[in-house]
Amino acid sequence: MALLEVESLTVSFYTSEGVVTAVDDLSYEIEAGEKFGVVGESGAGKSVTALSLLRLIESPGEIESGSIRFCDADTVESLAESYPDSVVDVERLRRESSFDDVIDRLEQRGVSGADVTGNLEHEGADLHQLYADGELNMRNVVDRGYAVDLGLIGEEDFIVRDGETCYVELLRAPEAAVRRLRGNNVAMIFQDAQTALNPVYTVGEQIAEAIRHHLDYDDEAAKTRGIELLDTVGIPDAENRYSDYPHEFSGGMQQRAVIAMALSCDPDVIIADEPTTALDVTTEAKILDLLEELTDEFDTAVQLITHDLGVVAELCDRVMVMYAGQPVEKSPVEELYYDPKHPYTVGLMSSIPRIGDDRDRLQTIPGTMPDLIETPSGCRFHPRCPYAERSCQQTEPRLVEFDDADGRGRSAKCLEYTGDLEGGLDYSVTVESEHVPSERIPGERND
């Protein structure tokens, strides 16, 4: 099991103009220590995804469906101790209920193979056959929430154990349990450090309060740790700057402080929501270096949200490209650059300015992100896609999975890969041999 698994997440906002489905049937996973990039234009649903992971979507937004599973064994154990009545043992479920019976009941409800396994190729397949093939078992039923619908487990059973593996289902967890994970296991770095810091408390206090709350440190110990953290993130004279207020920090230092805050309880995952957008380019490079260095050091997984493919190239192992609330391509990072599979990814990449490029204008993707209240029919990208055909307006492509040369999984959501595109995707990628993609601006750590 991966550290964090998001499956079929759908988040809607009920506005006066209509229902905006900001995130639509989104699935991805992050391994422990992995750097995972989420890329897309403004409005693609990146930040909503991030806030959903912490269950911080506020009214009028609502997480409609899906599953967010967090699988750090120690954390699950400690939650299981506090919520012994909310633990589900899948093995016991297997023993105690007949799975054929479960399948019958699923079929009665019209649940398809793809619904319950999450694999789109199982659409229309017979559930009994899938079970016989070993593609479907009790775990799928529990993971995807059907066990609750069928009454096999309770609404509030959010801790799942299955032999060696265990996880916490965040979307069923009570608020108090989620609060124990926030900041402690899953931390967040905000886009604009200046607004993310409370102006009336010292930077130190804002770091220390989480340490006191989650790790039960006393005032003195929390302060010591806070100073250490400020020092770690490269704030000079940390001991004195600890009692400074946010407005006394420069923009770069504020972002460093926010990183220190995110690191304060040694989380398993850090969600970094455009952490460098508000900063100038040199500071951006330093902050990214710092983030990479520290997350490597503490073996922290990162979900890096950005609209900048350059930032992704620098930091991430794997990327998900989002468009209009849906993933359009998932890929290991080098593969995405050398062999992009989705026309939107290609569009994003050709809009990166390059040194030595003597065109007068930057290339852009024509048009804008569609209105999420009334999304285009078929492929959501078709109105802006240079390769769109008639079929793209009618058929919504599915996310097709395939392996790259090294056997690592990637996927793309384009009719090309189901063989439904007549003209094919007519683009080519040129790799400049002297271009080193991950070159960084060297610099000292102090701002």
Binding site: L51, L54, L56, R179, R180, L181, R182, G183, N184, A187, M188, F190, D192, T195, A196, L197, N198, P199, V200, Y201, E209, A210, H213, H214, Y245, H247, E248, V258, M261
Partner: protein
């Protein structure tokens, strides 16, 4: 250090304000028809015309207005507020004797207002656009709309007359005696109601605004309990705009006390002021006005200090 200099500077700059207030009051009182002697003559037919002329001469009322003003000011600077013509007592002594009653009434009104307004404002902001919020906003709007003399009379009619819970007359005991403090409740509530309603509305608005800020999401993302987020992070930021309004409302509390003291016959400066205006007791009116000015200046100064305590960014500006 810089804070002390700031306070010193504020006190110095408030002197011209107070002088201005005294000049305007002095000028307006003189522009009004009649003076203390004509009032004395009117209420006492035994005073002859010759005596009236002599009294005017004795009180200095025939001097040009600026001479009278300078005489008065000279007295104030040496601590002499002049005499109360009709009784011959010292105006300063009269004010001093009545001041504690008014301060206690004002303080009670304030404490009542804050004690009601802050929690209900927080409640309304946290439950914005829900039933509880609507109810508290309706109550607040009523509190602002109701004239305080009417509210005072109604409270008296219901709680003092109908249910006989409170006395209707001055129990004539010491200010801090039990009877007196019990009697204080109705006028205190009357005077504090409008302030409570105003502060509550500001509290709700500013807290609702603060709740939308990103530092709140950041605090939630840290896993802090909602209670800590509201009472620690949001409250302190919301109090900044509440402080502005609170200082501003002090003036309303002072003028309110004039009405309320008369409705309840509370023996404070407000009652004294109304009597003084009827008799054209110049020295008494001037003394009370000046004192009111000082109170308002002090309230604003206090608000500025509270700002600085609440918000480090303001602290740095001093």
């Amino acid at each position: 250090m810089s804070m002390q200099r700031y306070i010193a500077r504020r006190i110095v700059t408030s002197v011209p304000v107070l002088i201005g207030v005294s000049m305007v009051t002095f000028g307006l009182m003189h522009a009004a028809p009649g003076d203390v002697v004509s009032q004395l003559v009117a209420s006492n037919p035994n005073v002859s015309a010759a005596e009236a002329v002599r009294l005017r001469e004795e009180f200095g009322l025939n001097d040009p207005i600026w001479v009278q003003y300078i005489d008065w000011m000279r007295g104030v600077l040496t601590g002499d507020f002049g005499e109360v013509y009709s009784s011959g007592r010292d105006a300063g002594a009269v004010i001093w004797a009545r001041l504690p009653e008014t301060l206690v009434l004002g303080a009670f009104g304030w404490i009542f207002a804050i004690a009601i307004a802050i929690p209900s404002g927080i409640y309304a902001a946290v439950n914005k656009d829900q039933l509880g919020d609507d109810v508290s906003r309706f109550v607040a709007l009523s509190g602002i709309s109701v004239p305080n003399f009417w509210l005072g009379l109604m409270l008296m009619a219901v709680f003092a007359v109908q249910f006989d819970l409170f006395p209707t007359l001055d129990p004539q005991t010491g200010l801090f005696s039990r009877q007196m403090l019990w009697w204080l409740i109705l006028p205190g509530v009357t005077i504090g109601t409008a302030a409570a309603a105003n502060v509550m509305r500001i509290m709700r608005t500013s807290m609702a605004e603060e709740l939308n800020k990103e530092y709140v999401t950041a605090a939630r993302a840290k896993g802090l309990p909602e209670r800590t987020i509201i009472l620690k992070h949001v409250l302190r930021n919301s109090m900044i705009s509440v402080t502005t309004v609170a200082a501003f409302l002090t003036a309303g509390l002072v003028s309110g006390s004039v009405v309320v003291e008369n409705v309840f016959s509370w023996p404070g400066l407000g009652q004294e002021l109304v009597a003084a205006i009827q008799l054209r007791e110049m020295n008494l009116i001037m003394g009370i006005t000046l004192l009111t000015g000082v109170v308002i200046v002090l309230a604003n100064l206090l608000a500025d200090i509270v700002y600085a305590v609440l918000d480090p960014r303001i602290r740095d500006e001093y």
